[in-house]
């Protein structure tokens, strides 16, 4: 086994004597960075196909695995949304669609998109790939655990998809899984379906915890020399904070899922009051459905920020690189991320204004909810102020960024409607809410993912994605998605409730039919447009323009590896040393319009770079 490790070589390269200009004697030297605190990580290098690509311990491979599996589930979610839209827009085209099916599709669509697609993609995919590279580590700190994390996710997805094939089908309880309805007949999949959903969620949480510990400890304890927290790219900040939220929020989901499973299987009454079903009183009594809602949203609200914060982080980096300008107000951005993260644990019941909880909570939660808009607003301002007086490359990546700003601000503002408790009363549980969260969660982070794919593809694969196809992809997705969700708000104003299989003879329908058809058409186009990206990726892998080193002239570490794409261990013999933040673009007096993080101060002594 010993040849699987190359620890001797690396540890030597890392010992403090070997550092140029180092040693405490010359501490006045501007380029001085103190010696390494921890010895270099020894890594297990796989040799066989299985240890290299399947049960692989390299965070980059694990990241790609996460990415692919999450995209796969995302496409399932997308297909489900098509089926839903068919029913809502053109019910006569899908005569086989029953209400049961519809609700199962809605549920699986929601759960897949939020948890198995976005969370896994941002944290598992981008987190794994980017964190070690961006903080200058060789790998995640616990590579073995990291590998197990992915395979837990894999099993979780398997269990989730298995529920499509069990008697009764997948659960149709809505992604919020509210009891008592989730485990009573009258809801599709109330037996096997909900069971498998709970098991799958528990597996996901377990697997995520293993991954999450990796991300956190890597950021906290395994940064390279010179990399302070306040020099980390915002991408890392976003993913890091989201991981913290996940580690503290998932427990509530786990507990809720466990208790509901017990209610279902053992007949306990945690969430089940006395219930009369088809003239018979069931053997439940005394439980509290609202307790589940509290547990769910104690998880659920942080969860929506778990998908938002990495997006915030990544978009900051993309904007900064492609506007050739430092991110405006970096400190404020960091504090905003941390503040939003912390506050998100105090706003959960804004999803429950009309749930029948203690009515006085409305005051508390409306206040905290609107407070959270302030740090978010600061982030928005800083994004657009980064564009201001920048030198904006209008390439595909930047287009996604602009699309993100428009959709996010739009969705955020509608969030303000909903957060303001008495405004939420008429709008809650209508299509206004659907429009709000698709704008802010379905579309905005998706724009970031797409931007990130176009941005980092040259790093992962060594080739540029095709710009022309990219532009088509962007405009179809952005304009299409905007025209799905912008009009949808107005359905909510009319009062159309969500989770309605059809409106049938209601007077509200007549005016909404046309709009529903339009929305459905747009949804088909947008969904189909995603396959442009897949085509683009496949095509580019073979024939794309080679990217070479640091093709976007970025400053952050991930572009500065000795090889492109980076190898296992990332940095060759020697870890990089960091001397500045990740945003020294367009520094007055510098030769080029960027100074990489590893450039020592002595090399840029003549410039007016600010100390960070």
């Amino acid at each position: 086994m010993s040849e699987d490790f190359n620890d001797n070589k690396t540890i030597q390269a890392q010992s403090s004597e070997a550092i140029s200009g180092g040693g405490s004697g010359i501490a006045t030297d501007a380029d001085y960075v103190r010696p390494a605190e921890v010895a270099d990580q020894d890594l297990y290098h796989g040799h066989s196909f299985i240890t290299k690509w399947i049960f692989c311990q390299d965070a980059k491979v694990i990241g790609v695995q996460y990415f692919l599996l999450a995209t796969f589930t995302g496409i399932i979610g997308l297909i489900l949304s098509w089926l839903m839209r068919l029913q809502l827009g053109f019910p006569e085209l899908v005569p086989f669609m029953t209400a049961e099916h519809y609700y199962q599709f809605v549920t699986m669509h929601g759960m897949i998109m939020v948890v198995y697609f976005l969370t896994a993609l941002f944290l598992g995919g981008f987190g794994n790939y980017l964190i070690p590279l961006m903080v200058g580590a060789r790998d995640m700190v616990f590579p073995y655990l990291n590998m197990v994390s992915f395979w837990s996710f894999f099993v979780a997805v398997g269990v989730l998809l298995a529920s499509f094939f069990v008697p009764g089908g997948p659960t149709g309880s809505g992604w919020t899984l509210y009891p008592p309805q989730a485990i009573l007949e009258g809801t599709p999949g109330s037996g096997w379906g909900i069971m498998l959903m709970c098991i799958s969620l528990i597996l996901f949480v377990a697997g995520f915890t293993m991954g999450g510990l990796n991300y956190l400890i890597t950021v906290l304890q395994a940064r390279t020399r010179g990399m302070t927290l306040m020099r980390m790219p915002l991408t890392v900040w976003g993913i890091f904070t989201a991981t913290v939220l996940a580690m503290l929020a998932f427990p509530a989901l786990l507990v809720g899922a466990l208790m509901m499973s017990l209610d279902n299987v053992l007949g306990t009454s945690f969430f089940m009051p006395t219930i009369l079903k088809a003239g018979e009183v069931l053997e439940y009594g005394g439980g509290s459905p609202i307790l589940f809602q509290h547990l769910f949203w104690f998880f659920g609200h942080p969860e929506v920020y778990i998908v938002a914060l990495p997006a915030f982080g990544i978009i900051s980096d993309l904007i900064s690189v492609h506007a050739r300008k430092n991110i405006f107000g970096y400190r404020m951005m960091v504090w905003a991320i941390v503040g939003i993260g912390a506050l998100s644990f105090f706003v959960w019941a804004h999803h429950m204004y009309v749930s029948g909880m203690n009515p006085w909570f409305g005051f508390f939660f409306a206040t905290t909810t609107l407070i959270i808009a302030v740090p978010t607003a600061m982030k928005v301002y800083n994004w657009i102020l980064t564009l201001w007086r920048g030198n904006i490359r209008l390439n595909t990546v930047m287009l996604w960024c602009l699309g993100f700003i428009v959709t996010f601000v739009n969705g955020g503002i509608t969030g303000i409607f909903l957060g303001n408790v008495s405004v939420d009363v008429p709008l809650s549980d209508t299509y206004f809410v659907i429009a709000h969260f698709h704008m802010v969660m379905g579309i905005a982070p998706l724009m970031v993912i797409m931007g990130a794919v176009y941005h980092w593809f040259p790093l992962v694969a060594g080739r540029f994605l095709d710009e022309k196809l990219g532009k088509w992809h962007f405009w179809l997705t952005f304009l299409g998605a905007y025209s799905i969700y912008f009009p949808m708000h107005y359905l909510g104003f009319i009062g159309v409730p969500r989770r309605y299989f059809e409106m049938y003879d209601s007077p509200y329908v007549t005016s909404a039919v046309g709009m529903n058809e339009f929305i459905s058409l747009a949804a088909f186009i947008v969904g189909a447009a995603q396959f442009i990206l897949i085509y683009n990726i496949i095509k580019t892998l073979k024939t794309g323009k080679p990217a070479g080193h640091n093709p976007w002239q970025a400053c952050s570490l991930e572009w500065l590896t000795p090889t492109v794409p980076p190898e296992h261990g990332n940095w060759g013999d020697r870890l990089p040393t960091v001397h500045r933040w990740a945003y020294d673009f367009s520094v007055p007096g510098a030769k080029e319009d960027f100074i990489t993080q590893t450039t020592p101060p002595s090399e840029v002594a003549h410039t007016k770079v600010e100390k960070t």
Partner: protein, 236 residues
Amino acid sequence: MSDLKIEGYEFKPGFKGMAKDTGSDQTMFKGVHWGKAMMWIFLLSDTFIFSCFLISYMKGRGSTIIDWPNPSEVFGLHVFGVDVPLLLIAIMTFVLITSSGTMALAVKYGYEKNKKMCGWLILATAIGGLTFVGMQAFEWGKLIHEGVRPWENPFGAPQFGSFFFMITGFHGTHVSIGVIFLFIYAYKTFAGHYDEGKRGWFTTMKGDYVEIEILGLYWHFVDLVWVFIFAFFYLW
């Protein structure tokens, strides 16, 4: 820990030190082993799990309008002709605290590289844990015998049984997992894996006595949770 030294880094105590550590490069928790930091964060997450359980229990108990059984009687034992309230629980508490003490000493001897003492103390801890699990099984058996079930309870609110089995069960699972690891680590200590830095079976990471401290953190946490369960479930 207290007199840590890192080349080129000046330590400061208190909040000043915290600001400095946080602002520094490389690590935020100075001198803290990766695995130990991981265990701490994991325990933080686990704390949230147990908190959610206990909060649910509080909410459930508070909102039922059927009387809650008096735990002092339910968990009493009849010994030598007298009813002693909560006797079994008291003994369990003492057993768990004893094992926590042995664990703390094991960690200490581990750092002193005292293989023998460390190993025996871990073994003692494991046996303490095993005793605890055994007594819990006895307690479960007794309650089940008296007719308490997760879904019903002859003494009052059915939620009593539900929460009791769920929370003590979850805690008991933690203890059992801990016991398994204690036995494994006792073996590894005696076999000298931590002295020679033998690589782990799965993780392929080199062994180090710090692993004993990591395990110790977990074990103390289990004890810590019991303190809360004892207060909220048995004494309330």
